[in-house]
Amino acid sequence: MNNELLNEFTFFILAIFVGIEVISKVPTILHTPLMSGTNAIHGIILVGAIVIAAGANSPLTIALGLVAVILATTNVVGGFVVTDRMLEMFKGRQAAKPPASK
């Protein structure tokens, strides 16, 4: 158990360095997609939500599990889709598409 905790802590510390290192190379113009992309990645909480929901067996745990799964899925799906929508546009010059119908 203590050993596992130590392992987890090691991963935690290393991930801090990797997170900072990876981001420091991103140009300003990609900051919004980047924020949105990292936002989608913390949707990994869906794994946690599924773990707790799987064992739900009382009205309280069912309610908690259901809400947690809904919120986490919204985070994951919305996060990746909205990021993709932004990045879709970084295509450089090409045949002009018809002006967006907004």
Partner: protein
């Protein structure tokens, strides 16, 4: 944890890191997002076979994933490009909420006296996740203008916020050291939600991007903490990656505004002294307004034009009109580029996204450091719906609230054309001396209408 699941999580973690790295170049960015999404699918897929589902568990997971997927897809597809920042806030908030609920569920199963290694991350996740949830909702409401964008302050606010924080600390100690009972951690969650609201209300709408970025990092940390509670490596690694990168991004964003993070969070614009420089100018100065024809002639016979887009352009949905104007000018041999201030729009990079949507080639988009020396050679700086980012007060008036913020040197161009709806000051609420500069020509009206008029006039010129 079985070997297989550990390996799957390792693969997922690598994919997240690679995805983030691909996001660092405009060409690879979209693949980066797919890479990260693949990591997510692997992490979730590997988790499921190992679980023992209750019947109810299976049902709520099915329903929950279906609802979340529909809401997420619908929200992300429907949102207008100008509303992206508040959408990110919303998606971030729900993640924080999920992390808090996961931690609550875990605490319920631990009994009254959990080990410190379980209780500590759980309460951390509840507090930080709830703050992120409530704070993100307020940030959303402010950007969506459901709540006023101006800082909401009242006497003794800091004291009240401080007391809430102390109460939270009290319950944290109670849960860890006395007894982990539902009353304590529900109270903890409620107090943290209140603190999230109270924390964001006094921050001005212009600073919301920094706040969203900070709350994004918070959610990452809450997720990592939930990972410690559940002994789940995928959560720890992915959550920490986001926590670390989000913190750095937050710092970069406040740096771009020339302010410290502390100043953004606690020194609401309104409290900074207004100083003599800001108050002096208002009355009795005249501005020069031009007609579309005047401006068309000026632009069409220039050699170099630098366009400075701002949020006004985004609100008016004028990104297509501005691209049309730029293409017309280029056909006439005018060299056109766009000067993008780091905080143009509502988020760093926001303006690039909007212009990219209108098919402006990103080779024409120049960042501030890259283009600032070129303004003095430009015949016209065309400022469309921007204000604070070209306000020379940031350079010259120590009394001004934006003093020290790096700005675009539009004032050094031979002519400055301002497209604005009115003489109203920008988002920061400060008068702009550049509007009264003799080199400046004002062109009043909605950015899109004005640009359309200008396009027609240039065609005729």
């Amino acid at each position: 944890m079985s070997l297989l699941i550990a390996l799957a999580y390792l693969v997922a973690a690598v994919l997240f890191i690679l995805g983030l790295r691909q996001l660092s170049s405009p060409k690879g960015a979209r693949n980066g997002n797919f890479t990260a999404a693949a990591g997510m699918v692997i992490a979730i897929g590997a988790t499921i076979p190992l679980l023992h589902f209750t019947r109810a568990g299976l049902v709520i997971i099915g329903i929950g994933v279906a609802i979340g997927a529909v809401v997420g897809t619908f929200g992300a597809r429907m949102v207008k490009m100008t509303a992206i920042p508040q959408m990110v806030a919303l998606f971030n908030g729900v993640g924080g909420g999920a992390a808090a609920l996961v931690a609550v569920s875990e605490l319920l199963t631990f009994g009254a006296h959990p080990a410190l290694s379980q209780a500590l991350p759980s309460v951390f996740s509840i507090v930080i996740g709830s703050i992120s949830f409530a704070g993100s909702m307020i940030a959303f409401a402010k950007l969506q203008e459901l709540v006023t964008g101006t800082p909401i302050t009242y006497p003794g606010q800091q004291l009240v916020n401080g007391l809430i924080a102390v109460a939270i600390l009290g319950f944290v100690i109670a849960v860890i050291a006395v007894a982990s009972v539902p009353f304590s951690f529900i109270a903890l969650m409620v107090l943290a939600l209140v603190l999230g609201v109270a924390f964001v209300l006094p921050i001005g709408g212009a600073d919301m991007p920094v706040v969203i970025s900070l709350l994004n990092a918070f959610t990452g940390l809450a997720v990592a903490a939930s990972g410690f509670t559940l002994n789940n490596f995928a959560l720890i690694v992915a959550g920490t990656l986001v926590g670390a990168s989000g913190s750095l991004l937050t710092k970069l964003m406040s740096d771009a505004m020339g302010r410290s993070l502390g100043n953004v969070l606690f020194g609401a614009f309104g409290q900074v002294k207004t100083g003599p420089a800001a108050a002096a100018g208002k009355e009795g100065r005249s501005v020069r307004a031009g007609s579309a024809e005047d401006l068309a002639t000026l632009l069409a016979y220039s050699r170099r034009v630098i366009i400075v887009p701002g949020y006004g352009l985004a609100v008016a949905q004028a990104q297509h009109a501005v691209r049309e104007l730029a293409e017309l000018l280029e056909k006439r041999g005018v060299e056109v580029s766009y000067a993008i201030h780091p905080v143009a729009g509502r988020m760093p990079g926001h303006m690039n996204v909007l212009l990219a949507e209108a098919n402006v080639p990103y080779e024409q988009l120049k960042e501030m450091d890259e283009i600032n020396d070129e303004f003095k050679d430009a015949d016209v700086a065309l400022v469309v719906g921007a204000n604070d980012v070209v306000n020379p007060a940031a350079r010259s008036s120590p009394g001004s609230p934006i003093y020290g913020m790096p700005i675009l040197n539009a004032d050094q161009a031979k002519n400055i054309v301002f497209m604005k709806r009115s003489m109203r000051p920008g988002f920061a609420g400060i008068d702009n001396d550049l509007l009264y500069d003799p080199k400046t020509i004002m062109f009043f009206g909605d950015a899109k209408d004005s640009l359309t008029k200008l396009v027609n006039a240039v065609k005729a010129a």
